[in-house]
């Protein structure tokens, strides 16, 4: 399993041809209390860099982009009942959706954990 990060503060955990996607701890802290997560439809295709989900905090709606292209194979239905999981466990139980990867080569441009940490420290 490998974990990658985007400059839009999504994480993507890859195992074989499947990727799990969520937002980072940094992102949830910036967004504040999350009250709703709009997830993509099962079976829908998302494009790298395209809209994939929407996170609603008390104040504002924020887009979550697909870190890579693929077909949505699973969504985290626990977020419907408890969207605050994204605040309390953003990089574990607060995952958003799983993708069947369309092109594993798209992972190459993403950051690893150390690079992402350095990226956040500069913000």
């Amino acid at each position: 399993m490998s974990i990658f990060f985007t400059d839009e503060h999504e994480w993507i955990s890859v195992e074989g041809g499947t990727a799990t996607v969520g937002i980072t701890d940094f992102a949830q802290a910036q967004l504040g209390d999350i009250v709703f997560v709009e997830l993509p439809a099962l079976g829908s295709n998302v494009e790298k860099g395209g809209d994939a989900a929407v996170v609603e905090s008390v104040k504002a709606a924020s887009d979550v982009f697909a870190p890579v292209s693929g077909t949505v194979s699973e969504v985290n239905s626990a977020l419907e009942e408890d969207p605050a999981l994204v605040n309390s466990a953003p990089e574990t139980d607060g995952w958003f959706f799983k993708l069947a990867l369309a092109d594993p080569a798209q992972l190459e441009g993403l950051m690893d954990a150390a690079e992402y940490k350095a990226f956040c420290e500069k913000l």
Binding site: G32, V35, F36, E56, V58, K59, A60
Partner: protein
Amino acid sequence: MSDEPEDIIQALPLDRWHQDRGARMVSFAGYTMPIQYDGIIAEHLWTRENAGLFDVSHMGQLLISGDAVDVELEKILPGDIIGLGVDKMRYSLLLDENGGILDDLMVTRRSGDFYLVVNGATKADDIAHLHEALPEELTLNHLDEHALLALQGPKAVDALSRLVPGVEALVFMTAGAFILDGVPLWISRSGYTGEDGFEISLPAEAAEAIADKLAAQPEVKPIGLGARDSLRLEAGLPLYGHDLDTDIDPAIAGLGFAVPKRRRAEGGFPGATTICRHFAEGAPKKRIGLILSGRLPAREGAKIFDGDTEIGVVTSGGFSPSLQVPIAMGYVAAGTTEINKPLTIDVRGKRLDAVVAPMPFTPHRYVRQGS
């Protein structure tokens, strides 16, 4: 949130104070301001149950004095200013010639002058407007070396009266001069959260020391702008630049209390003809509250439908921490405003079910005369 140019962002007197307390700072109304400390929901609920300390020093504090200043103010404000007693305050509006709202404000008659608090994002335009609209003989001072704090919540009176005995005698929308540690404070029993509470005007150089004293009270936590917005939305209070602007007049906004009977009969303020007609005959659209089904909030700009007919737009919307449901404020065509009327709101192509709800969404808890 703000529509101001980003190029000149200034620091307010408590800038460092907020950062030292872990606030996340954002630019708003030309200043860096604390958006949140612990989280909007926690801060919101703390204020509803205890007391929240808000820094609203970005707002414009103005003093106007001179001969017959009340008569002159009635030429630009639609409220009863002549009938306002000393140390009493009112909510009022600056209007353009069509009756559109240029800003909303608080005006207090003091023994020697009138004290106005206007919005931060509009204060420069307001000052220019006042200079133009008021006679030259009047004196207008901008208290730009003053900070403004708001202490809001059911326990605000316990915290503040411990430090400043006597404030407990104030009732809602009255004010007075007090002293704490030699610092002159102008304190009113007022605010914009729907809770009991106080607003405290003080010299900027004393702001840190006084804020420290207030924040040291067990009832008090510092609260950011995020919770200020969710609190005022639950309280059904309009926010200038979102729920109020120059396309909206006081009748459309449902601010009838800001234009009393005498002023409607006599007129003599900008846009009086249109405004008085709207009050008498009904305005073409109205400000309403909405409670949504589900958990997905509708935001400013979302369109409101009655069946298939578009009837209006959301001007403020969010998730209510107290009610745990999404709530919104918006304008819809007259005739579609009855309480409990089912409507839908378009959010990203989905139609969310909503009903027209009375405002405030959570009851006001002001401490009024005789209560």
